[in-house]
């Protein structure tokens, strides 16, 4: 098994933390994983991508061309990266910011995650909602590992936000048709 | 001729310092590198530091100083002495570490290393031999070469329009907070030799006390590349060099 996940968005949208949460979940589940975030040089408003490769054996290439799963956080990310999806792959799009998308040969789940996060009371969990949708829809990772991963990734002083994050991830999972 | 008994009874008033080996130095006649070595060696002995001193030997006529000093030695690349000394001091703090550097080594290729070592207040001592030329490589211009001074690379004399003015290392370092002791001395007569020794001693004392960076600039002769006899070289220091490089204690240290 080799699952290649690629996420793209703009700085501040939680693309980095979504990537690292996914990696921690894979680790919790006893899988092998490789995770890298890349960002554009400008400090504000630049693009950010996270690549997470999960495998049940050795992770080969950390570099991906076409990917199995694509998480698109906004329109710029969609314009740039939509073509990366492998046929039969999964796209989770934050439709609050991507607008409507059309894909030929892959499964598309559109989640108005920014709006839903605002309704939960904190736009910061947009990424967690998208993560929940991806995890549930793809079925490679189990949602039960989310809390442990969150505890590792979140600094101690933010642990008070754990319940909100769990709510968000479950809400995301519920969006899977 | 005194006989053996006379010798045994005699009081020793002058001998080779224990911090120097018996290896014969190979400096030119009239060169004050040898005097500077001796002064440092006397100080190491008087402060009882021989057993824990490391000399960082640099590149210039003094490149064989590891043969002359009876202490542990590390040979550094040209200009890098203060960085090497820092590495030794940081990983072996009880060592007494000094570099012995010429003006090419310190003021040309190694200016950055000495400034940053001083700026960190590194507890090392630098003995800086300013003889206004690159001696070892056959008399080329150094940053410290005097205006008008003929060298093999300033055949018509140093022209400030081309090569700028002489580099004043002590004046440059004097404003740096990490400096615990800083002085310029020379070695052209008994009085200046005594003063030079006093400064060298203070510099090492500052290191022993962990007070910070210490440096003594010694205005030195290079009769060969000044195209002078030894006595003329001494006179040239008095008349020309000290005009450009006045003797001064820039940063005083009291134990």
């Amino acid at each position: 098994m080799r699952e290649e996940v690629f996420m793209a968005g703009t700085g501040g949208q939680g693309v980095v933390s979504a990537g690292s949460l996914l990696a921690e979940m894979a680790l919790e589940q006893g899988l092998e994983v490789c995770y890298i975030s890349v960002y554009s040089p400008e400090v504000r408003g630049g693009w950010v991508t996270s690549t997470v490769v999960i495998a049940d054996g050795e992770v080969g290439s950390p570099i991906v061309g076409e990917v199995d799963s694509l998480l698109l956080f906004d329109k710029r990310a969609a314009d740039e990266h939509l073509g990366k999806i492998r046929s039969g792959g999964l796209i989770v799009a934050n439709s609050s910011l991507t607008g409507p998308l059309t894909v030929a040969d892959a499964e598309l789940i559109e989640v108005p995650a920014t709006r839903m996060a605002a309704e939960l009371g904190n736009e910061q969990v947009t990424n967690i909602i998208l993560l929940g949708t991806y995890v549930k829809a793809r079925g490679v990772l189990q949602l039960s590992h989310f809390e442990a991963a969150l505890k590792t990734v979140l600094p101690e002083r933010h642990h008070k936000h754990i319940p909100l994050n769990i709510e968000a991830v479950n809400l995301g999972a519920e969006q899977v048709p | 001729m005194p006989d053996a008994q006379d010798l045994a009874d005699a009081e020793v008033v002058y001998r080779r310092p224990a911090a120097l080996t018996e290896v014969q130095m190979r400096y030119c006649p009239g060169c004050t590198h040898g005097t500077a070595h001796r002064l440092v060696a006397e100080v190491l002995e008087e402060l009882d530091l021989i057993d824990r001193t490391v000399i960082v030997v640099t590149v210039g006529c003094s490149v064989y100083a590891d043969k002359y000093f009876n202490v542990d030695a590390v040979q550094a690349a040209h200009g890098r002495g203060p960085a090497v000394a820092t590495g030794i001091k940081r990983s072996s703090p009880e060592s007494i570490v000094f570099t012995y550097q010429g003006d090419g080594d310190l003021a040309a290729i190694g200016l950055s290393e000495v400034i940053h070592t001083a700026q960190r207040g590194e507890s090392i001592t630098v003995i800086f031999i300013n003889n206004a030329v690159f001696g070892m490589t056959r008399g080329q211009m150094a940053p410290t070469t005097l205006v008008g001074q003929k060298t093999t690379t300033t055949p018509r004399g140093r022209d400030p329009q081309i090569a700028g003015m002489p580099m004043m290392v002590c004046e440059l370092l004097a404003s740096i907070a990490g400096v615990a002791y800083l002085a310029r001395e020379t070695m052209i007569d008994p009085k200046t030799v005594r003063n030079a020794k006093r400064s060298i001693k203070k510099a090492f004392q500052a290191q022993v006390d962990g007070a910070g960076f210490s440096l003594v600039e010694l205005i030195s002769t290079c009769p060969v590349w000044w195209y002078k006899r030894p006595l003329e070289a001494i006179a040239w220091i008095r008349e020309e060099m000290l005009e450009q490089y006045p003797l001064q204690v820039f940063v005083e240290y009291e134990a």
Partner: protein
């Protein structure tokens, strides 16, 4: 066994060094390896070590030189342009027979280049160490766990052969995170080398660390001694990994990040019924000639994959010695190969 934790290559190589007993680190910031000095600045203090930021890489390597002379485990790290500046110091360390560990997280070059992942310092890493007859022993991990493990292995190897050891990574290996299983941090070994200077002599004869030997036969003898150590290292420290089909039609040659790409390509080719194998040198100097010489007799071709314009392939060709064709697939300047691109190009060759 301890729990695995996610770490970047930068963090892993730094923690691996501390775990091995390294207590001295001198460096100067340069992307993509800034997390190494940052990690050292944060964590060396916990174990009574010394982190010092130098004013340049010239200074870094000379700080290392000084600390190495005292017999300490000492390390520096940089990326390509900084490693260029360290060449002088490395040469002096070889001439003075001093051990140290240098990490090079290679970036795109020449010149200031960029911070992309590249392998274009292969020659610098395997031939380099400035002027003179010496080189660094060079090892190229390809996973973050290996970064950690090699940091630990590098110090005793450096001490054994009394020379700098280089750990060669790249911008990707530096910044990607993978699970690492950590070991207990060890105390530094005693500095009882018979060449180490410093401390109180307590009557021992004085020692000199020196690379100036004007007596030419003495210098030649030193070079021979260094060379003999390299020959011993070739015997004891040559490492490589093989991966893939046991009866391949062709063999990939790749190290570091490129080898990871090849592994995925091999798995995908296998799904299409194409039999391929990988030889991955872990030690770049000493170079593992043997597996190349052997497989060259049995396969149609060897396909070299590197993120540089034909540097690594020269060593492969030397090892293959004309026994089979050697092809080269490359990208350079910080551009990385994707598995798809390697697949497409290798199929054109077959």
């Amino acid at each position: 066994m301890s729990k695995r934790v996610m770490m970047t290559g930068n963090e892993a190589v730094a923690e691996g060094a501390i775990a091995a007993g390294c207590r001295y680190f001198f460096g100067y910031p340069i992307t993509p390896q800034n997390a190494i000095p940052q990690y050292m600045a944060e964590h060396l203090a916990e174990v009574g070590g010394v982190y010092l930021q130098a004013e340049s890489e010239l200074a870094s390597i000379n700080l290392v030189y000084g600390a190495a002379a005292t017999g300490a485990y000492v390390m520096t790290s940089s990326s390509s342009p900084g490693i260029s500046l360290m060449q002088e110091g490395l040469s002096y360390m070889l001439g003075s027979e001093l051990p140290c560990v240098v990490v090079n997280m290679v970036r795109g070059g020449p010149g200031l280049g960029n911070i992309g992942a590249a392998q274009s310092d292969y020659w610098l890493a395997t031939r380099g160490a400035g002027h003179g007859d010496g080189r660094c022993l060079t090892f190229a991990p390809h996973r973050v766990q290996e970064m950690y493990d090699w940091a630990a292995e590098a110090f005793p190897i450096a001490q054994k052969y009394r020379c700098p050891v280089m750990i060669l990574g790249d911008g990707l290996l530096a910044n990607m995170a993978e699970p690492v299983r950590l070991r207990e941090r060890q105390e530094p070994p005693p500095r009882d080398q018979d060449w180490a200077i410093g401390g109180r002599r307590n009557g021992r004869p004085r020692r000199i660390v020196n690379s100036l030997w004007t007596d030419v036969p003495v210098m030649e003898a030193l070079n021979i001694r260094i060379q003999e150590r390299f020959e011993q290292a070739a015997e004891n420290e040559t490492r490589w990994e093989e991966y893939g089909n046991d009866d391949p039609t062709f063999v990939f040659a790749a190290y570091g990040i490129s080898a990871r790409i090849c592994k995925t390509v091999i798995d995908r080719l296998a799904e299409e019924g194409i039999r391929a194998r990988l030889i991955r040198p872990v030690s770049l100097f000493p170079f593992p000639h043997k597996p190349f010489a052997e497989w060259a007799q049995r396969v149609e071709r060897i396909v070299c994959v590197e993120l540089s314009m034909g540097q690594f392939v020269e060593d492969v060709r030397l090892a293959v010695a004309g026994e089979c064709p050697v092809d080269l697939i490359w990208r350079t300047g910080g551009v990385v190969l994707t598995p798809e691109e390697v697949m497409a190009r290798v199929k054109e060759l077959l």
